[in-house]
Amino acid sequence: MSGTVSTPSTVARFAHGLLRNELPLLSDERRQDAVDFIGRRVSVLPSFTRFGVLVIGRVLDVAGMVIGHSNIRRIVTTLPIPLLAEYPRLVRSLGFAYVWETWPDTTVEGGKPS
């Protein structure tokens, strides 16, 4: 798959924040690779799903500008809000699958083994 597809900025911002929060020891370089992978997958999602993801991403991004991106991320990852809760689930699933598929010896916090 092409590595030149750019991740939509709203999705990239959310994915960076989520991975930084949940895998705090993941290096910036690896996190960027994972975010790029998430972007590539989002770009080939079926039309309707992709549309939904981009709309939710945009709404959360705008809300994040008002009340803070970390606050919005905490809300959607902890509250079982229909549809909205699927968004962090998708981002987390893709990101984590990529990290451990690519670097299987990654520690639970995202670090390299000592």
């Binding site: 949940e22 992978f37 080939v44 039309s47 309707f48 799903t49 699958a97």
Partner: protein, 476 residues
């Protein structure tokens, strides 16, 4: 520049339905052209069950979903050979009771059970269907051990694989369509165009006359005498709907929903490039248990529903394997093409019985794992507890709700069911679309219901039956 091709018979899709249809029609002298949306990928050039394979051989990188509560993730092969290139290769004949029920309930003509099973025998020879001659993987032994200790029925499921003499499970060569029926079709003169996406079938009244496709952003037109749509249970109904065929098309999607868990053992059990060949059938056909792909990335994925509690297990991924509980579902789904959108919308509604069965299935599967000496079991639903003993299974069951679970399926059927009962069926008893003179379906969409077992043998047997009928009726 607009490329143009001509053929007698255009076959859309090259999976279990399309490849078998192409081989039989080409053998009979028909001028066959296959169009395949995905690429031709040589076996062995990608690691089985990896993210790389999902990128190259699955639709949408494997991220496709039927919307609902819960939504159900599904996968479709999108490559030459279709799903046969990427699935587990497990082979099940359709149960006789299932064939009998389909024949009577959907008024399917010329559908004698013994005839279908006779075709299954041919398929088994063509695909080298067999059990593992050597040692099964540890993931297989776990299912066998757990079920044996519980006194539950289990067994090894044969696969379409060829093995060197005495070889173990991981040394098999998949006898998928790119190694079997497609080469046979090419030898008989069939052609294939890969990386060609069908956009539209053009009609003149009841007759379809040409197809409009896209290849590398360029338009391609194909004129044909007849068209046989074999795009799988999601794409086939969407193609028919875009062509204006809507009667009973895409209204009755049937799947086998599954829930999963990861189980941790004291020693290494994970074989990333293979899946368990054992299944537990004690509660079949309502539910059955088997093994899933367990690449490290998929192990991480299986733990994400409660990462806070489960996450630490990911570093022990060689000691973990993923298993599933699959159910027969009373629910149904819808596939709907939307004008202006490239992909159809897919929805699925589980019934209360389905939801209850998923919970029971997960509990019984966890019990099998504990009996097989699992140290910890990680069920895939939001907020699930770690299961370490039988008491924990009870706690898990009380917390389970299907709406919180990561439900998925790989068996999709029944979106253009066949039969002469026009109130229930989209095609006649041999796949001719109601309301059309020369548009046929010949893939999983035809199966009137999900068969309760891996559907590929059913798909191939029905496709071969219908292809032979076509040959009998239309001279090459």
């Amino acid at each position: 520049m607009n490329m143009h091709h001509d053929c007698d018979v255009l076959i859309v899709g090259s999976g279990a339905g399309g490849a078998t249809t192409a081989a039989i029609l080409a053998d009979a002298g028909h001028d066959v052209l296959i169009v395949e949306e995905g690429p031709w990928i040589e076996q062995g050039s990608v690691s089985p069950f990896s993210l790389d394979q999902m990128d190259k051989q699955y639709r949408s990188g494997g991220v496709t979903v039927a919307l609902g509560v819960p939504s159900i993730a599904y996968t479709e092969g999108r490559c030459a050979g279709g799903g046969t290139e990427v699935n587990s290769g497990l082979y099940w004949r359709p149960p006789e009771q299932t064939l009998d029920r389909w024949r009577s309930r959907y008024s399917i003509k010329d559908f004698a059970t013994e005839d279908i099973l006779s075709i299954c025998e041919e398929v088994e020879a063509s695909l080298s269907v067999q059990t593992v001659p050597g040692e099964p993987t540890e993931a297989s032994r776990i299912l066998q051990r757990g079920a044996d200790r519980l006194g539950w029925k289990n067994g090894e499921i044969p696969r379409w694989m060829s093995y060197p003499e005495g070889a173990g499970a991981t040394q098999g060569k998949r006898q998928s369509m790119t190694r079997t029926y497609l080469p046979r079709a090419f030898e008989a003169g069939a052609r294939i165009l890969c990386d060609h996406r069908l956009d539209k079938i053009v009609r003149n009244g009841r007759r379809a006359v040409s197809a409009e496709l896209t290849h590398e952003d360029q338009p391609v037109t194909i004129a044909f005498r007849d068209v046989i749509v074999c795009g799988g249970a999601i794409q086939t109904p969407a193609i028919l709907q875009r062509a204006g065929f809507r009667h009973r098309v895409g209204r009755t999607l049937a799947v086998h929903p599954t829930v999963k868990l990861a189980a941790k053992f004291a020693d290494a059990v994970n074989t990333p490039e293979d899946v368990s060949v054992y299944q537990v059938k004690q509660f079949a056909p309502n539910m059955s248990f088997g093994g899933s792909a367990s690449h490290p990335g998929l192990v991480a994925l299986a733990l994400t529903d409660n990462w806070r509690d489960f996450g630490k297990a990911v570093t022990k991924w060689p000691e973990l394997a993923i298993y599933y509980a699959a159910i027969t579902s009373e629910g149904r789904g819808i596939v709907q093409a939307i004008p202006g959108m490239r992909d159809p919308i897919v929805t699925y509604r589980l019934t209360k019985r389905d939801r209850d069965l998923l919970g029971q299935g997960l509990a019984r599967l966890a019990t099998v794992m504990l009996e097989a000496d699992a140290e910890e079991v990680y069920p895939a639903f939001k907020g699930a507890p770690i299961v370490r003993n039988r008491a924990d299974v009870g706690a898990m069951t009380s917390q389970f709700a299907a709406s919180k679970a990561s439900v998925m399926t790989v068996h999709l059927c029944s979106t253009a069911p066949m039969g002469d009962d026009e109130k229930r069926c989209a095609t006649d008893s041999h796949g001719l679309v109601h309301g059309a003179d020369n548009v046929f379906v010949n893939d999983a969409a035809l199966l009137p219901e999900a068969p309760g077992v891996n559907p590929q043998a059913s798909v191939m047997a029905v496709a071969i039956r219908n292809a032979r009928r076509y040959v009998d009726q239309r001279a090459g």
